[in-house]
């Protein structure tokens, strides 16, 4: 044992730290400089923070106690927000499913279809939801329908990608076994790919619902329905205690949905 240790030449040990190459050194310096420069661009200002601080305190104190008188109205508006989120997510999931099958290397019928489907999914994902909301408000008009469409598109961008990845991640043994016994591509898709990627479908779908509930809150700011508009009006009219009530209700809704969703995930995946 000792002899064996002695017999190995210590100079074979790798050095403790890799020497950085000239290129990576250069890139590091550029990155550090850019981060520093960005602080300037971000308008960081301690003096403004200092003057703004008392304002924040005063605004917060005007919010308390939250105004409960408008609670019923807030409740209805919150329900509409949640319904937008729910329906948007459901529509999004329904559309995502076939789209993901086309956008997954494991199931796509043709490379051109694959690239096209992936392009659509990334377009939906990379354009921010507020931009979609502005687009739909301009085309279908103000109100919850614009918001629902926005959330559906958002869901497709998210679920389309993760459903497709879920389908790509299934092990390949069962597929080979089913091919070997003469199953068709359709048969393999429904009898293997779908059940095998079900956990990832469930996880992505529930997560997407949580995400939709959070974004549905702000869509109202651009007139796409939901409670956002109530919040904006309350703030604009300096009704801070009402605004506080709205924020509390939003907070409660988001927490509730996250709780229920994580319960459901555990239940469905066990």
């Amino acid at each position: 044992m000792n002899q064996a240790v002695l017999a190995t030449n210590p100079s074979n040990l790798p050095s403790r730290f890799e020497r950085p190459g000239i290129l990576s050194l250069f890139l590091t310096l550029i990155t550090v400089w850019f981060v520093a420069y960005s602080f300037q661009g971000a308008g960081i200002s301690l003096s403004e923070l200092a003057t703004g601080f008392p304002e924040m305190i005063s605004l917060l104190s005007q919010m308390l106690p939250p105004d409960t008188s408008r609670l019923p109205r807030i409740g209805w508006s919150l329900l509409e927000t949640f319904q937008m989120a729910l329906v948007g997510t459901v529509i999004g999931i329904i559309v995502s499913f076939p789209l993901a099958a086309l956008a997954s290397r494991a199931t796509s019928p043709h490379p051109v279809v694959y690239q096209l489907a992936r392009a659509i999914v990334s377009l939906f994902r990379t354009v921010p939801d507020l931009v979609w909301a502005l687009f739909f408000v301009a085309t279908v008009g103000l109100g919850p329908f614009a918001g629902t469409l926005t959330l559906a598109v958002d869901t497709i961008g998210f679920c389309g990608r993760f459903f497709a990845e879920g389908m790509e991640e299934v092990e390949k043994g069962p597929r080979e076994a089913l091919t070997a016994l003469g199953a068709s591509r359709t048969g393999i898709f429904f009898s293997f790919i779908v059940p095998a990627s079900l956990p990832s479908f469930i996880t992505s779908s529930l997560f997407s619902l949580e995400k939709a509930v959070r974004s549905s809150v702000v869509l109202g700011l651009v007139g796409a329905g939901g409670i956002g508009i109530e919040l904006k009006v309350a703030m604009d009219m300096f009704r801070y205690s009402e605004a506080a009530m709205i924020i509390l209700c939003i907070f409660a809704l988001v927490i509730l949905v996250e709780r229920v969703s994580s319960r459901a995930r555990k239940k469905l995946l066990e």
Binding site: G173, P174, E176, A177, L178, T179, A180, L181, G182, A183, S184, G187, F190, S191, F192, P195, A196, L198, P199
Partner: protein, 273 residues
């Protein structure tokens, strides 16, 4: 020892070959890029017989078995399976042929989360092209009953509703065999079916597979590194070395030490040169 594979030219007697010789391989070649994996493999297997395929890792056993049903496309040569000229079949005909050939892999390759019964039912997919065989809940009663009978054949009738990820390795491989039985196959190809099982389970599975093949008149080719299995459960042992079929003998003429020496490259090549 120049044990060249016994050749039975497919052209010599075209009439009886179909029934009596369900597997005829002639001059099969396969390369992956520059690597030649199979060189001129020629082999025929008589109906209802069990053939063991041995050879060290990388000698081409899996490639050979996969080529037979075109899970891997061979480069050249000819394969006749159950009277079909495999390499000239179109997609639909290939599916029909595949439905008559059971394939058991080293890994059970079952669909996770689904029940044992549903997994067995999947064996009918080649012959019954209907969504009803995707899940046991949708399946016609007679197919459900047949799937249960197949599970019963492998001793797992009590586990029909158990999700397969909650079965042991040996049990899973039994379900995979039941799935193959569901095909009512005329040939079973088994690629190291017991390699990932403990010795006891391996023995049981090999026993089961050989018995089912024998009882149902199924022709069986199984690859294995268990030399005892090769001799005990076959009537004939063939061996690949670097893609060349260099051994082909009745099991009665072989001992495990003969087979062991087949695995040692230097000794045997000295003998055969």
């Amino acid at each position: 020892m120049s044990a060249v594979a016994s050749m039975q030219s497919p052209t010599s007697s075209p009439e009886p070959t179909q029934k009596s010789t369900p597997i005829i391989i002639d001059g099969l070649r396969k390369s992956f890029g520059p690597n030649v994996i199979l060189t001129d493999v020629t082999l025929s297997v008589t109906a209802g017989s069990a053939v063991a395929l041995v050879g060290s890792n990388g000698s081409g056993k899996s490639t050979l078995l996969r080529c037979l049903v075109r899970l891997i496309e061979p480069d050249s040569g000819s394969i006749s399976l159950l009277g079909d000229d495999v390499l000239s079949l179109n997609r639909a005909a290939l599916k029909r042929l595949r439905s008559r050939v059971g394939f058991v892999f080293q890994k059970h390759n079952l669909v996770p989360r689904l029940s044992a019964l549903t997994n067995v039912l999947h064996g009918a997919q080649g012959k019954v092209p209907s969504p009803r065989v995707w899940f046991q809940g949708l399946a016609p009663q007679h197919l459900r009953e047949r799937a249960l009978a197949c599970l019963n054949e492998v001793g797992l009738a009590d586990f029909a509703s158990r999700p397969v990820d909650r079965l042991s390795g040996g049990q899973s491989q039994r379900v995979a065999i039941a799935r193959a039985l569901m095909q009512e196959p005329e040939i079973i190809l088994a690629d190291e079916p017991v390699a990932s099982l403990d010795p006891e389970a391996g023995e049981q599975i090999m026993e089961l597979l050989a018995r089912l093949a024998r009882d149902n008149g199924i022709s069986l080719i199984f690859s294995t590194h268990h030399l005892e299995h090769a001799i005990e459960y076959s009537e004939r042992v063939i061996g690949l070395r670097k893609g060349v079929l260099e051994l082909d003998k009745p099991n009665t003429e072989l001992t495990t030490s003969d087979l062991r020496s087949f695995y040692e490259p230097s000794r045997v090549s000295n003998e055969s040169e």
